[in-house]
């Protein structure tokens, strides 16, 4: 049995100035309809490329699949350690269900997973900035292009859960999709249970807040739960 995978959770307000500027934790952003949304504050810290490749969020989705970006993402955010909002695991959970219903492997496009607020495609708030959206360019061997194919998989996604939102086929960027299937869960923020949200409680300069989240439920179940204070 392999070692249990743990991943560090950080309050991005504790990160250095440049990272805080780029990730804008807790910042308010406008979507294309001028509605305000508060950006996520709690992130998984991915220490290395190897970790990104090896950490699995679900049976079929690895963490790296949600972090693929190109030069549109800020250079600093492409360097390790990298950061991704904790809500990514919720997205992975729904994608796993979608994968089962679609009947094939689901491939997320570059720039189609998490995009920071500093990404060049982040003109307006989109769930990509919460890590709760995925642009899928291929399912099994099918490249997703053309009305018929995209509408077919959009229908499968909508049938898979009422929580999943899709973009209809069309050519207007942001409103439609014509070379991928866009799925999102809206603006979900995950606050890990190990974290206290009171920023006054622990000054960031003196005591950074973080936690390690155990990613192996099966192993967690099999281990005795320590008593409080043990």
């Amino acid at each position: 049995m392999s070692e249990p995978q743990s991943i560090k959770v950080v309050d991005a307000c504790d990160l250095d100035d440049e990272l805080r500027f780029l990730l804008k934790p807790g910042g308010m952003v406008l979507d294309a309809q001028k509605r305000r949304h508060r950006l996520p504050r709690y992130f998984y810290e991915i220490p290395s490329h190897e970790a990104a490749m090896s950490i699995r969020l679900t049976q079929h989705f690895g963490l790296n699949e949600f972090t693929l970006v190109d030069l549109k993402e800020e250079q600093r955010l492409q360097e390790f350690p990298r950061y991704i909002p904790c809500a990514v695991r919720v997205l992975a959970f729904y994608l796993e269900q979608f994968r089962k219903d679609a009947g094939g492997s689901v491939h997320i496009a570059v720039n189609g997973g998490y995009r920071s607020p500093s990404h060049k495609l982040s003109e307006y708030a989109t769930p990509h900035m919460w890590a709760t959206a995925a642009d899928i360019y291929r399912i099994g061997n099918t490249i997703l292009k053309g009305k018929e194919t995209i509408e077919k998989y959009n229908a499968i996604a909508e049938d898979s859960s009422d929580d999943l939102h899709v973009l209809p086929y069309g050519h207007v960027t942001g409103l439609n999709a014509d070379d991928h299937v866009h799925l999102d869960l809206g603006y979900i923020t995950v606050i890990p249970r190990e974290i206290s949200e009171d920023r006054m409680e622990v000054p960031q300069e003196n005591k950074p807040r973080f936690a390690f989240e155990d990613r192996r439920r099966v192993e967690r179940r099999s281990q005795p739960v320590p008593e409080e204070g043990e």
Binding site: D70, L71, H107, A109, R138, T173, D179
Partner: protein, 300 residues
């Protein structure tokens, strides 16, 4: 400047017929007109510059032609300007995506990948390729997909700025490839033979932003896969750093010719013909004539 017939005849492809540059020029001019007539060309533009003898020669060299894929040289220049400025790196990853925005109406369009010569790029749809690799396929296999991706990365404005900085006129880059709405609005990339010659000369002189950038561009251009233009009129040993351009009514080639034991020469040959005529071998024939004429001269 004085020119005379070459003394060492044994290496020449033809015997020098005349020791006068003027006579050679007249002869070349006649040959070019003959080729134009024989191939039923609507337009022919030629620009030549030799680093060894400093001879320049041109024919109809300020006439604007549809650029076809020779515009990719300007994109290459634009890419290396950004690399030289440090805003881009050869290994910067670019998302390979077949979706572009028209410069005319901001509508999206896709390339017909069946027409693209390069599966090396569209085989990576959904993934990334580094800038350097895209530049390589854009030039060596004339990949339209790579071209449009790089145009998106560096922008048309920046490409034009690069040309302006290098004082290259005669090259107008307005858009990427297969922007049908722009084509219908009459917005096309255009080049003159002199414009492309200036661009290649800057690269040949290692003055395109930096010697390193120029060297890198030359290396890519030397790997050109399509050799039915200028190289077809040269001895096999000649190395040519070049870019071709073909659509149904034009066939161009623009290159820097390296021959053993001498400085390179820059040659641009642009041809335009009716679609039903077809492209023929005019470019190769002009290339051969230029080579033969040059081989018949020595510089003193």
């Amino acid at each position: 400047m004085a020119l005379k017939a070459r003394k060492a005849h044994e290496k020449l492809p033809v015997s020098p017929a005349n020791d006068s540059v003027a006579a050679s020029e007249i002869s070349l001019y006649r040959n070019v007109l003959k080729i134009k007539e024989e191939h039923d060309l609507e337009e022919l533009g030629i620009s030549f510059w030799d680093a060894q003898t400093t001879i320049q020669w041109s024919y109809n060299a300020d006439h604007y032609f549809h650029a076809a894929s020779t515009m990719k040289l300007a994109v290459l220049i634009g890419v290396f300007r950004e690399i030289d400025r440090g805003t881009l790196a050869l290994d910067s990853p670019v998302h390979v995506r077949n979706r572009f925005t028209s410069i005319v109406n901001q509508e999206t369009f896709m390339l017909d990948l069946a027409n693209d010569a390069d599966p090396d790029v569209y085989g990576h749809l959904g993934k990334t390729l580094p800038v350097g690799e895209l530049a390589y396929w854009m030039i060596t296999k004339s990949s339209n997909l790579a071209t449009n991706l790089l145009v998106d990365v560096v922008t048309i404005e920046s490409i034009q700025q690069a040309l302006d900085e290098l004082e290259i006129d005669g090259v107008r880059v307005l858009r990427g490839v297969e922007d049908q709405a722009a084509f219908e609005a009459g917005l096309n990339n255009e080049v003159t033979a002199n414009g492309l010659q200036k661009m290649l000369r800057v690269i040949a002189d290692r003055k395109a932003f930096s010697p390193e950038a120029s060297e890198e561009m030359l290396k890519i251009m030397l790997d050109q896969q399509y050799r039915s233009g200028i190289p077809a009129g040269l001895p096999k040993a000649a190395r040519v750093a070049h870019k071709t351009g073909n659509i149904s009514t034009v066939h161009h080639d623009a290159g820097i010719v390296f021959l053993e034991g001498r400085e390179p020469y820059v040659l641009v040959i642009l041809t335009q013909f009716r679609a039903e005529t077809g492209r023929g071998s005019a470019v190769a024939e002009v290339s051969r004539d230029i080579y033969n004429t040059l081989a018949g001269l020595t510089y003193e």
